[in-house]
């Protein structure tokens, strides 16, 4: 912890004096932090705002809610106002109803007497308030867990299938000599140049013909092999020396065993990178699930988020809360896997 702190507060200037490069670099870094984390922070704070607070202009940074009070003789809690002018200046009154610029109010201490005030003479009494109901509603009103499960199932299954298919293809394309190897590789890379939107309709027809329409498998299977993944893994596997494979062959290892025991462990850094990418692609995928999945019980989180945004009205507080919940798993995955991105170039045991 002390190390982290001294690293974060390191300066070029000595004895507490800041060199001008310190100003520049810290300013630059602060700007970067603000640019990158500002929106995320804004999102998280906003997700705890009530609907009224979200509509307020100008917006506040922190979530506020108006204080209310239970007054004898009234069923619902009444909102509190501090009078800033007029006859009752300085008093805290509860509002009964409002008509135009006039409001009917009552003193909580003296509930029988109704007071008429001009709304220009008052301001609401507010306090910090976390609208956790935004989150609990997700579970009560919407089937959040269902969407979460759909997204998780698609992401995990599709990533697993994709890693398996891609690494086997990459192994064949990098380590076996066969006629047409280059052609196959060029075709794989060639598909990179075809935008997804071009193949959207044919892909949809195939998926429908195979009876996978409105099924999670219809989302998983079409993306099982990605040219990017094959290419990335192949480039990495080329660097594994052939002599290691020859040694394994002399050790009576089957080709399958060579793949599992030698190639996969040695390609772990590249596979981890691909896994991170795949998880992010799958979790954030929107267009293809939108086309294949039409029934709401099959919706992924991204589709559910979209459904909050109607043509006429948008359920902002639910949208924001669900966005936060959608971000959490992907951030966790990234935190656990990021160390693999940079580490581990296979040491061959040779010089």
């Amino acid at each position: 912890m002390g190390k982290v702190l001294s690293f974060l507060t390191a300066t070029r200037g000595k004895n507490g004096k800041l060199h001008w490069t310190d100003w520049v670099s810290y300013g630059y870094l602060t700007l970067g932090v603000f640019l990158m984390f500002g929106p995320v922070l804004w999102l998280v704070i906003s997700s705890f705002k009530t609907e009224a607070d979200l509509q307020r202009f100008p917006p506040t940074l922190l979530p506020y809610a108006q204080e209310t009070v239970q007054v004898d003789g009234y069923d619902n809690p009444l909102p509190l106002f501090l009078m800033t002018g007029g006859d009752y200046e300085g008093q805290t009154l509860a509002q009964l109803r409002r008509v135009g610029s006039q409001a009917q109010m009552v003193d909580p201490a003296n509930p029988d007497e109704r007071l008429r005030v001009n709304i220009a003479n008052r301001e609401p009494v507010e306090k910090l308030h976390l609208a956790t109901e935004n989150y609990t509603e997700l579970f009560e009103r919407f089937n959040f867990l269902r969407f979460f499960w759909n997204s998780t199932f698609i992401t995990v299954t599709a990533t697993a299938i994709m890693l398996l298919v891609n690494s086997m293809a990459a192994f064949a394309l990098s380590k076996y000599e066969f006629r047409g190897r280059m052609t196959v590789l060029l075709m794989v890379i060639g598909t990179l140049m075809i935008p997804q939107t071009v193949v959207l309709v044919p892909l949809f027809l195939i998926v429908t013909e195979l009876g996978m329409f409105n099924s999670l498998w219809g989302v998983i299977i079409p993306g099982a092999a990605t040219p990017t993944g094959v290419f990335l893994l192949r480039q990495y596997m080329i660097t594994i020396p052939d002599e290691i494979l020859d040694a394994a062959r002399m050790d009576k290892a089957s080709e399958w065993k060579i793949f599992w025991r030698i190639i996969v462990p040695l390609s772990a850094p590249a596979i981890a990178v691909l896994a991170i990418l795949a998880i992010m692609w799958r979790w954030n995928d929107f267009l293809w699930p939108l086309i294949v999945l039409t029934q709401s019980e099959n919706f992924t989180l991204q589709l559910a988020l979209n459904s909050f945004q109607g043509e006429l009205q948008t359920d902002w507080q639910s949208l924001l809360a669900m966005t936060v919940l959608t971000l959490l798993p992907i951030s966790a995955v990234f935190m656990f896997l990021q160390k693999y991105i940079a580490t581990g170039i296979a040491s061959t045991g040779g010089k």
Binding site: P241, D246, R249, M250, S254, K257, I262, G350, K351
Partner: protein, 358 residues
């Protein structure tokens, strides 16, 4: 019995022929060394025997069985690679046990075998380490251990010492020799270093451009090289070659410069006027005031106990002299030298073949 027989074995990549029909017989328990300059096909030949490389034509017979179509794993061979090819993600113990696990050896037996081999190769302290934490020599031992632990019929070594420094190379050379004595297996060893070949081998196969130049015991190759290539390749420093023409009375070799060297009276089939190259080892060519040829000295190396004199003949040919003790010859001197007549070799200049008549 692990005899190995190659019957006109060929290998070509497309139209390029890299092994041009090699016949060879290696007896059981023999230590055979394939030696030759880079690109001569010696490693390819080894990989063909191992089964890692297919053969284009001919037969490979191991222990009386034609193994052309038997995959590498089932030939009962073990190979030590030039880069060691240890599995980098496994510990030394896992490296050793991988092959045994693949043939479903019981766990207790694996442990027993690893323990024995590790003790023998003095790597028992390293079993928990990974290859990247080992020195070059230790990696080499592990690579050999991985081959030994499977108890193969035949060991194949592909330039195993070329990544080690000179001192370690001499040590490991001794260890491989003692390993061979202890195990008594047939071994094939590929190297480009003729010193390794001479010190280790029972039999040496000299290869050049995919062809077998000569196959025989080390001293046989040294004493009776079949052609100029073998003569020049075996022995260090290299043999000196002096070109000339046989005189009419068959007693003299006449050099282009007019100098004349006496020829041995018997042992060679020569004809008058034939163009002949005389081969003389640096130790058999000595300064002699009455010697028949003049040598202008280009450089001298004095090592105390021995001396090397490098020079050129009147016809431009480079010549090396190796003599014991110290010499007073200096740079730029011209000295007379004479070859020991009973130790010279004669080759036909055009065909490069030896003219020995037995």
């Amino acid at each position: 019995m692990a005899t190995i027989e190659l019957k006109s074995v060929r290998k070509s990549y497309g139209t390029a022929e890299v092994i041009e029909g090699i016949d060879l017989q290696i007896a059981h328990g023999e230590f055979c060394v394939f030696v030759g300059p880079s690109g001569c096909g010696k490693s390819t030949l080894l990989r063909m025997i191992s089964g890692l490389e297919s053969i284009t034509d001919g037969d490979i017979v191991i222990g009386g069985e034609v193994v052309n179509d038997i995959p590498a794993a089932d030939r009962g061979l073990a190979m030590v690679f030039q880069s060691y090819a240890l599995y980098p993600h496994m510990t030394v113990r896992q490296n050793l046990s991988f092959g045994l696990e693949n043939i479903n050896t019981p766990k207790a037996e694996i442990d027993q075998k690893i323990e024995n081999v590790a003790k023998m190769l003095q790597i028992d302290q390293l079993l928990a380490r990974r290859p990247k934490d080992l020195s070059g020599g230790q990696r080499q031992r592990v690579a050999i251990g991985r081959a030994v632990v499977r108890e193969p019929r035949v060991f194949l070594f592909d330039e195993p010492l070329s990544n080690l420094d000179a001192e370690l190379r001499v040590d490991m050379r001794g260890e491989i020799a003692s390993l061979h004595r202890r195990l008594g297996n047939t071994m094939i060893y590929v190297t480009h270093d003729q010193v390794e070949a001479m010190t280790l081998a029972d039999k040496i196969a000299v290869l050049r451009l995919g062809q077998l130049e000569q196959f025989g015991a080390p001293l046989e190759l040294f004493n009776r090289p079949r052609n100029m290539f073998v003569a020049g390749f075996i022995g260090s420093p290299k043999m000196n070659f002096i070109e000339g023409q046989v005189s009419a009375d068959l007693k003299m070799l006449e050099l282009a410069s007019g100098e004349k060297i006496a020829l041995p009276s018997s042992g060679f089939a020569i004809a008058a006027g034939q163009k002949v190259t005389m081969g003389v080892r640096p130790t058999e060519l000595q300064p002699d005031e009455t010697g028949p040829i003049a040598l202008s000295v280009k450089s001298v190396e004095l090592l105390g106990g021995e001396s090397y004199i490098y020079g050129s003949l009147a016809n431009g040919g480079a010549v090396t002299i190796h003599s014991l003790g110290q010499t007073s010859v200096g740079l730029g001197d011209t000295i007379q030298v004479s070859p020991k007549i009973e130790e010279v070799h004669l080759f036909d200049t055009d065909s490069t073949l030896s003219l020995r008549d037995e």
